[in-house]
Amino acid sequence: MAISLTSLVRQGIVRGVNNAFGAGLTELRRGVVEYCVLALLAEEDRYGLELVRNLSSLDGLVTSEGTVYPLLNRLRDSGLVTTHWRQTGDDRPRKYYAVTPAGDAALARFRQDWSRFTEVVNRVLGVGGEPGA
């Protein structure tokens, strides 16, 4: 089952734990944010500021908007993301980021892994799960 970002936030996996866990969450976040970027770009192509604002609106996911740009560069260098310039109306041309087929495949793999992972961790920690489940 694929877990959307919004449901992640709703379940409290991401929300609010930033301050409570500090360094521990930094480690956790490091491996996860890149897939959240891929997930947002899989929904639709986005330009830098748009993507970064989307990410930072998800509480606790990124600590600094600026660090998303080095991450995007690495995703592009790894062939998971591609860029193109697009101009809409009278606006200035913007660099848009899009997911490549390799990025889609990596995201699909991660969705499966993440599902299994959170299920196990929730069970061990005795947290999470839908009410009544």
């Binding site: 930094t26 480690e27 976040r29 490091r30 491996g31 944010v33 890149e34 830098g48 500021l49 970064v52 930072s56 990124v62 600590t63 600094s64 908007e65 600026g66 660090t67 998303v68 740009y69 080095p70 991450l71 995007l72 560069n73 690495r74 995703l75 790894s78 200035r92 913007r94 660099k95």
Partner: protein, 184 residues
């Protein structure tokens, strides 16, 4: 933070600090990082001219140093403890005494091989002082050993203390400014 909490936030200052912080990255990597951040600033600030809004845009971006650190770290890798950096400092100071000149040269090589310092910090570690403490000790011993140098003993002592303290202080400074390769 990118601005003084009391003073006027400066986008120019942020850009300058970011350029300084990424100076060590390869040119193409540097340009690929600066270009989208400049675009981000330009677009985010196109509608904001009030100080509070400018400050918020800069604060949300994070410190230039944090962004540079994220750019220097490999994807998904955990930060490694800076063992090599500590070894470089020990060789640069203690090594230069135990093995005059050779120890110092080895320390300088390790210093420049490390990715934990900026270019300016590496130059500082190299130029204060060429030869390191070892050479200072040799020069000091030679000066005191010379029978005709009595007249210069007092200024000589101050000078030797200065020459001896400077590389120690530089090593302490470098030790406290080892970059953490934090990602995100």
């Amino acid at each position: 933070m990118s601005s003084n909490s009391s003073g006027k936030p400066s986008v120019g200052d942020f850009r300058l600090r970011l350029r300084h912080a990424v100076a060590e990255l390869p040119r193409s990597e540097r340009e690929q990082l600066l270009e989208p951040i400049d675009a981000h600033l330009e677009e985010a600030l196109s509608t904001s001219s009030i100080d509070a809004e400018v400050r918020e845009v800069l604060d949300d971006l994070g410190s230039p140093e944090m962004i540079a650190d994220a750019a220097g770290a490999p994807l998904g890798a955990s930060p490694r403890p800076p063992y090599h950096a500590f070894v470089a400092l020990v060789v640069l100071t203690v090594g230069s005494v135990l093995l005059p000149l050779i120890g110092w040269v080895a320390g300088v090589v390790l210093l420049w091989a490390s990715s934990r310092w900026t270019l300016a910090q590496k130059w500082l570690g190299t130029l204060v002082w060429p030869g390191g403490i070892g050479l200072v000790l040799i020069i000091g011993a030679t000066a005191f050993g010379s029978p005709s140098s009595g007249f210069y003993v007092v200024p000589g002592t101050a000078l030797v203390v200065l020459l001896f303290a400077a590389p120690v202080l530089v090593a302490i400074y470098l030790g406290s400014h080892i970059r953490a390769t934090e990602l995100i």
